[in-house]
Symmetry: C2
Subunit: 133 residues, 2 copies
């Protein structure tokens, strides 16, 4: 089933063999409250900062910018600054980033399929503690 390739270590001297696979590496990139959302949204194409910010509701400027920078530093997206008068910048997935974003799709689908269940769960959980109305 799941091929358990272990201990092939190309010439691994640095980099502890984190886990059983590359999940660790991926997680290092996508951990950050909004990163997966950012990546996934960028699948739609180049997006201006403002659009992104409006799309990802509830994210603050500081954090959005910050995560964009990190993602850029990680080589999964690129920032494009048209040096125009009212600032104009957009963000695009790099090829690497694109494949990463695509790898998020199953998660997205899972979420969609199980959304009802999850909502019920969260509803109960949240409704607990106030007036059980």
């Amino acid at each position: 089933m799941s091929d358990t390739r272990h201990a092939d270590a190309p010439s691994a001297t640095l980099a502890a063999p984190a886990f059983t696979c590359g999940l660790d590496a991926t997680l290092k990139i996508i951990s950050g409250k909004w990163k997966p959302l950012i990546l996934y949204f960028l699948l739609r194409g180049p997006t201006r900062y403002g659009e992104l910010k409006r799309a990802i509701r509830d994210v603050s400027d500081k954090v959005l910018i910050q995560q964009l920078k990190e993602l850029e530093a990680d080589g999964v997206l690129s920032r494009n600054d048209y040096n125009e008068v009212p600032p104009r910048v957009d963000y695009t997935l790099t090829p690497t980033g694109q494949s990463l974003a695509q790898a998020l799709e199953p998660l997205c689908q899972w979420g969609t399929q199980n959304m009802a269940e999850m909502q019920k769960l969260f509803a109960e959980r949240d409704g607990w503690g106030r007036a059980r109305a």
Copy 2:
């Protein structure tokens, strides 16, 4: 944190379309430093606490237990306590959990494929600051 996103739905099935898809829902479940690793590892079958702990190197008892509990509460895995003398417990994916774990596979693959690149990146990043001799 103020998590008012799903907060409507008096008795409706309609979710505030958090984003473009169910990614949000999924993220709520798998966010936690070790959760994806736990889920992915459990694809191999029922696993005792100790095994898990040894497999996921660097996780502390407190956090591992805690995340296992949350995952259980979220219905993606189940804890099985054989009430034996030296404690014996194992964890299994529920059907829902199994599909979730499977959805992680593309991420894992991405990580594996891009591991070299990422390692180089992280190496540079970490090696920066000490001896540049």
